[in-house]
Subunit: 322 residues, 2 copies
């Protein structure tokens, strides 16, 4: 789907699968194998947040918090402060999280930790907003503290919602980077779910939740990832479209105006390729200007080395989305 050109020669090549479909799950366009089974990883966070919103447990949340529940944030101050406050508002704290700690991707916050001698904590985990949402749902459901266990009421609710919106029984799950179960589905199933998010118009609990989640994401792109990151930059550039990346080469898009959903998986798991392929598909769908700097830096624009010299560019492979 994506070729890496260097010095006028193909250096590397990424294959993959992509599906564009409507709310009924009808495939409008597809590349690769639409029925390939994948782990959506973090791309399905808006699905994992459905039980929180449709149960009413998250009724009091601000749009920024709802966006954080769908986020792979980079642990910048705005993310850390918002999750800290959210946990405190529930009478909970960092130790109630089960996502594990990792250094924030945000440079300023990383540098602050290094120079102050502080350690990164679980709130810095890119999934801490999703986990705050799990904890809020758990308060509502009255489950035990181990909310990432497969048979815990929180994850049972997530699985049920996931299977309903993908329209498929999940063939199984794996442990995600943040320790929550991640349920497998097909690329088609994931695109179908995004189509349903796109077409949702409110009226029942699920549809209301879908509208709330996609709207919160597009209103707060800074909460869904962070400065310089693809989700944040491309949601600003492609107005009204909700976007979410997932580890190992997954990307999804919700296009409410077009009532379309999109899912793609790079077979080798490369993020540079999932971002380039997504940009290509958004341009094709008419919702992103290919000359926008945040598009060009991921597809077709000059790539530069440490001295600013151009070495090549990422391009769509022949036969894909062009």
């Amino acid at each position: 789907m994506v070729d890496v050109w260097r010095g006028g020669r193909l250096e590397s090549q990424h294959r993959g699968h992509a599906v564009i479909c409507d709310a009924q799950g009808t495939i409008l366009e597809a590349w690769g194998d639409p029925e390939a089974v994948i782990y959506p990883r973090s791309s399905c966070k808006m699905i994992q947040a459905l039980p929180l919103m449709e149960s009413g447990a998250g009724a009091s949340l601000s749009d920024a918090q709802v966006a954080l529940a769908c986020a792979s944030h980079q642990g910048a101050a705005i993310h850390v402060e918002a999750v800290t406050r959210w946990l405190a508002d529930m009478g909970l704290g960092e130790s109630d999280l089960r996502c594990g700690a990792h250094d924030p991707a945000d440079i300023a916050e990383r540098n602050r930790l290094i120079c102050s001698g502080d350690e990164a904590c679980q709130i810095h985990n890119n999934c801490s907003g999703k986990h705050a949402g799990f904890l809020m749902l758990n308060k509502h459901l009255g489950g035990d503290p181990e909310y990432v266990e497969l048979e815990h009421p929180v994850q049972r609710a997530v699985r049920a919602a996931f299977e309903e919106v993908t329209g498929e029984d999940s063939p199984g799950h794996a442990i995600d980077g943040c320790s929550a179960p991640n349920f497998a589905t097909t690329v088609h199933g994931l695109a179908r779910a995004m189509g349903r998010f796109a077409a949702a118009g409110g009226g029942d609990a699920r549809s209301d939740a879908m509208v709330r989640l996609r709207t919160a994401m597009t209103r707060h792109p800074e909460m869904v990832a962070g400065e310089t990151r693809a989700c944040t930059e491309l949601m600003r550039a492609a107005k009204g479209v909700a976007l979410k990346t997932g580890a190992d080469g997954v990307f999804v898009a919700i296009l409410p105006e077009q009532r379309l959903g999109l899912a793609l998986k790079i077979a080798d798991g490369a993020t540079r390729a999932s971002e380039a392929a997504l940009v290509g598909l958004l341009i094709r769908l008419g919702v992103l200007d290919g000359q926008h700097p945040d598009a060009l830096k991921r597809l077709n624009g000059p790539q530069r080395n440490w001295r600013g010299l151009e070495w090549g560019s990422l391009r769509l492979s022949e036969g894909f989305a062009g």
Copy 2:
């Protein structure tokens, strides 16, 4: 060549090309397309250092400096100090380099820079040892300061040596991350060059240089990359074998005892896969214990998330090197 398994299911898959051959360039084993044209990137630094050594320009260098000339180091204190001293010994300084500056991968040095407010300089560039070698050759050749230009005597000497040891006319070049030209060849050509390095026994300038370069690399694995890095760890684990990685999924090995050379390229450019594939081939060739912790962390061993939970492993694909 390499499969990424998560939760008992194939999550991602890496294809590629690999060649094992002798000093004559006879292919003993191959996977993928041996004649695929690739950029060796940093994997060919020992070739780029041939003119330095065979001209006699580098005769006074220590083994540690020769290893640095072949290095993609991580800008740790030992690397920065050694390159700084080397430049000073030539009456040169940081501003004579043409590699550009980037933050060091070494955590301690990175943190020192952040907390002291210092900026990373060109000496931190992972290629600064190679560039110190270029500068030393340039002093010998009497070229102008722009030693990374394609038609500069330094790069003309590099290209001539490259084409001779790969046994192929290079079809062209690209600008590498460090701004030097990087000449294209086939995977077979790169493996043939490594076979020549492996079989070299000394006796003429080229053969002496090859012995010196491969020996310096294996004597100073800490100079070729740095702690936790694949080249350093695997050279310690596979004694006597010289190893070098290159960006976008390249790895080479020189096996002097077996008189074999090896080159591989992951088609999508993934480093996790080039490391896993290299480990698989070294095990197959009997020079690496598959149960060594530094092998297991790259192939077959449990991969763990931020809470230490096992999520899966990297495995060789069916039909590759198993």
